[in-house]
Symmetry: C3
Subunit: 250 residues, 3 copies
């Protein structure tokens, strides 16, 4: 384990209720290890958060364009949570620029499904209800839900601080059906980082990050970490960076 | 993680083949952190262990009465193992006094089921056979079973010492059907602490503590710990106390 | 946990794409703790690797003969991976010499099944294809598969070094149907060490080391470790030795 790190080029794609700044701590740790790190923003998030009608197609296209415009090669393309589905579609546009695709508790959507199709029916209905109530189709999660589901390992003050920065999420992409035939034909090596305290999706067979969605990748490298869905990205970025390196290296 | 602990009021409810003293080490650690801790005894256990005909209804009523008689408020009510089912029923009596209900590898019995209905058929039959053999309806587990199933991480001498204090368990409550409609209507926040080396119930989909029984709670905060069913409550009480705090805090 | 180690007699049985030297580091650590350790070679492996037509029956008989010829008693018989199935059959020959049977991410084959019957169909087909291509019925795994599936936690140089020593595996034993009625009637205590980063078999319900195959043992002692299928046997032998001791002691 004392081997010097192999320098990698990471493109980190965040999920819902987050923006590119989600990766600040993890990116800093990866750079300290000698890696090159990009964390592209995509429509409907960050400075563009008022764009509440951004589509999934716009988001994945933006990530692919970013990789192309920066002429990135041998990319380790990482998707967290909703970002998993963005990475699936983005990979279809720029397969030759990718070294490996890494999911970290990220959606691996089935060909033809929407994100909502991958959620337990009651969760999908809950998100739909919130989108209706918001008046503009966005979904904002109430604090008690977000705290217990996304930040279960966080002390209260950390959870409150993270939640204070959360913007409502454009709701359209949750119900957009995704054609993923090209993704499932890609020969690019794949890894799945599974965080075993993550309860955003019910653990077990039917809806889980792993082994339910991860198994759709066919052969993949598994890395298991002790973390929940979001907390350690903020409070223990070095741990998350290490997991991503183990998932991304040759 | 350096945040000062929020002082909580814990009521700790032990399981089968145990008594209130089961919590001594964990309670001491929680008190050291500034928490207020109660560990009520209930019929058929501790000094009352000769009361072999104690019922599940008597046990859960005793815990509810304890909370009421001590006029406890904002209680974090914790149930371990069989104590999970006791906590389910006790919560129905005193919902307004509870801040959160925490299960730590505790039974979350389905409405209308008995404890035995939640066990693999061969285990339920084994317990039934032991109850018959005892002559007084109690169930005493043979050491090899107890050692491998409840204390798998313990050195032999620790396992022997714990087993030496075990009293036969009243068998009636295992087959008592429980009406849990009120419990399942409670809006009280819930947490589930899952100990991943616990093999008392078969791990996986059909009978497991988690995700099988935990998922009945609907939305809940998950905390996962590296422990078996009983050993670390005795040998690593600080670890268990930390898990309970993470499960119980706001 | 400070108890002095109980001296045990281990017989360590390696798996496929390995030989008795696989255990060198683990055996050295166990001996340091005061245990007696044997790591028998069996046909088709080690110096006998050119014996490409070795059968499963020959392999398990060789292990049983080894135990008998060395007049070993109170043996903790350990099987890793394919070695699990070897241990199942060997145990049928020498039940009175065994203290406990320990599987460490080892196959627990169902009575009447072959190893291939326990693999996901696509993996079984992949192995069958490799056996056909080799011209002599042996199966050699390509490096990218071996690296991601067997050595997911290893740095690249460690993975390459381990792979450099791998010999093609006789393919016949994968499809040999095993009569295991005697094994399943044995009253010998059993343990299962499950390594939770092991993705050689898909995790979850249908094909997993644990809980899928482990549950066939009936009552067993579970020990869970943080490791993949092979890496830590080489790089962290002390950790593996500790798991085996916890699984094997009284």
């Amino acid at each position: 384990m004392r081997q010097k790190a192999q320098p990698l080029t990471f493109v980190l794609v965040h999920g819902s209720w987050a923006d590119a700044g989600f990766w600040d701590g993890v990116a800093a740790e990866l750079r300290k290890q000698g890696h090159t790190v990009y964390a592209p923003e995509y429509p409907g998030h960050g400075a563009d958060y008022k764009n509440t009608t951004a589509t999934h197609a716009m988001m994945s296209k933006a990530v692919a364009d970013y990789i192309q415009n920066h002429d990135l090669r041998d990319v380790v393309l990482v998707g967290h949570s909703f970002g998993g589905s963005v990475v699936q579609k983005a990979a279809e546009y720029v397969p030759d620029r990718l070294k490996r695709i890494v999911f970290i508790d990220g959606f691996v959507v089935k060909d033809g499904n929407s994100l909502a199709d991958e959620l337990p029916p009651q969760t999908a209905a809950f998100f739909g209800e919130l989108a209706k109530q918001s008046g503009n189709g966005t979904v904002m999660l109430p604090f008690p839900f977000f705290r217990d589901a996304f930040l279960n390992l966080a002390p209260l003050d950390v959870a409150q601080k993270i939640y204070a920065g959360v913007k409502p999420e454009p709701g359209g992409p949750f119900t957009e059906k995704l054609d993923l035939k090209k993704f499932y034909a890609l020969q690019t090596p794949k890894s799945y980082v599974y965080l075993y305290q993550d309860n955003v999706l019910p653990q077990g067979e039917n809806y889980s990050w792993h082994p339910h969605m991860s198994s759709r990748l066919g052969q993949f490298r598994l890395i298991v970490g002790d973390a929940d869905h979001m907390t350690y990205f903020k409070t223990e970025p070095k741990k998350i960076a290490e997991l991503l390196y183990m998932a991304g290296r040759d």
